[in-house]
Amino acid sequence: MRRIAIGILIVALMAVGAVYVLNTRDEAPPDAGTAFSVAPEQIARGAYLARAGNCEGCHTARGGMPYAGGRGIDTPFGTVYAPNLTAAAKTGLGEWTPADFWRALHNGRSRDGRLLYPAFPYPNYTHVTRADADALFAYLRSLPAVERANRPHALRFPYDHQIALAVWRALYFRPGTFVPEADRSAEWNRGAYLVQGLGHCNACHSSRNFLGATDGTLDLNGGLIPTQNWYAPSLTSTREAGLAQWDPHEIVGLLKAGVAKRGSVSGPMAAVVARSTQFLSDADLHAMAAYLKALPQSPELPVRNAKSLDATQHAQGAELYRQHCAHCHGDDGVGIPGAYPPLAGNRAVTLEPPANVVRMVLGGGFPPGTAGNPRPYGMPPFVTILGDDDIAAVISYVRDAWGNQGSPVSAFTVGRFRGHHRD
């Protein structure tokens, strides 16, 4: 009996030890007191990198001062509130050193030693170079100091405890360094660095397990974004958003302007284009395009996973389409280039799950206003015009017409998404 108890104790101690070791690996003590000086070009470089990471997107409350924090990021475990990144001494980064900032970015540990929640995507940012981290810090320290107290996270038990976070990190986080692949071009490597690091593309474009962990920064196989209920399509499937067959200029155009011949960005990707990618250099966007184009493509799944529409359903959907959609998208679903996307052959329409097409029809929307497309054409929301049955019928028709091969959508599915658009 005593032997078993000792055995359990030893295993427990080993586990604690392992969690401790795994949480402090590759961590240098912050070199406190180091003089902090920056060159103006470092600040400009940092400003650009902050765009590449869309730091402002999370670290700014709606209508609030830029980078002063306060925006809530909803997760399945509760809400994480992004902190103040301005140069404010008490509530911001005013007293941080470059080494403190590096440790946050590279190791996911705050200045006071607390472990940071991975809603701050340090599993990606750990790949950012020290030089880039220093430039980012120089930029953030150049921002006007806004004293705005940080709001405590509102997480459920046990996720609100550091020990739970330590275990999570022991399981799913390792500090990393970006190592260029020698047999790839410099452009590909630059793209890999941006996509895996600051771009944190896999934060949305991959699925997460029950503890919110992805399969790592290389996984871009698509996933439903937790709590937001938009589907970030797979970048490795030609049926979803795989780019292997796209012209690089088209990819760059989409990331820069938000619209391309085959469609436009919507939902969370509209935010990414509006706040981040439209500001990146053509060289960096081409690098990202080169990397994304070269991603290994997953094997094709069977085309259709449900029955096609019967004649009555088809006719009902076609009539609704004629009344409400054909005016802009055309009788044949070809759209109008630059204004209204084609629906025939549009992969966003036939995605499985159908979250995005349902949300587009319910909520309508404009592509983001960008320098390349400053006055987008919009689509009205149909949540106030059509009931769930009609919306399901017209979407099922569009997913089935003109050679499209998406499965029908039920009124129940439409109803599930309706609440996102109406209070």
Binding site: R62, G63, A326, A344, G365, G403
Partner: protein, 266 residues
Amino acid sequence: MTSSFGRSGSVRKRRRDSPGVAGSPRRPVRFSQAVAALGLLAASITAAPEELAFEDSIAQRVQACTGCHGKEGRAASDGYYPRIAGKPAGYLLNQLRNFREGRRQYPLMVSLIDYQTDDYLREMADYFAALDLPYPSHQAPTAAGEVLRRGERLVREGDAAREIPACDQCHGRAMMGVAPAIPGLLGLPRDYINGQLGAWKSGIRHAAAPDCMAQVAQRLSTDDIRALSQWLAAQPVTLHAKPATVTLASLPLECGSVPASGGTER
């Protein structure tokens, strides 16, 4: 991207072509091909009644708005969404920015204009402000005459004891608003007026600080709000009624939404 349309204002019949090929993503048909196809098909097409020509215009671009705010910015028949046609441009721009920046809450509206630039929002506001469309007929009141008289008294006299200024001091004698930033309150659905005054009173709706309307709404009781919405929605609006353009000497309260309002809290 917009350059693919040709010059601003050019009008073109929407193009049609043959149904798509199954399976793989298609490239859209070139414009020249589309024109050729259109030429061949034109004779055989009998356009559906709602089939209008596509044009590169601001009216075309903001069709997203008319689903709720009605065709050309008149209120739709469901009785809630406000008419936006003919409201002062500065007011409309302020509201678009208020939605984008979290001072007004309506998820549908926020998600529509979330990532648009100030320049584009201003263009939208100017477009709807310049529309001169007939107003819908007023809503018959559902409350007793006493309630309506209370509403009218608040509009014309306010209530000095409770520091409630008369509505028409700011919203204009005709209650059709004052350009550029003060909205008219006639021609709006009763439900919408109730909804907005309630939202202001409970702190859900805000305007730029100092938020004069929030101060007024917080002094209103729910009975006041009911009386106001009953009276306001029951007033007929004359044809081509427009916001006043007079310069207000000073407002009874300081208003962040009204440039140089000059007023101070009493």
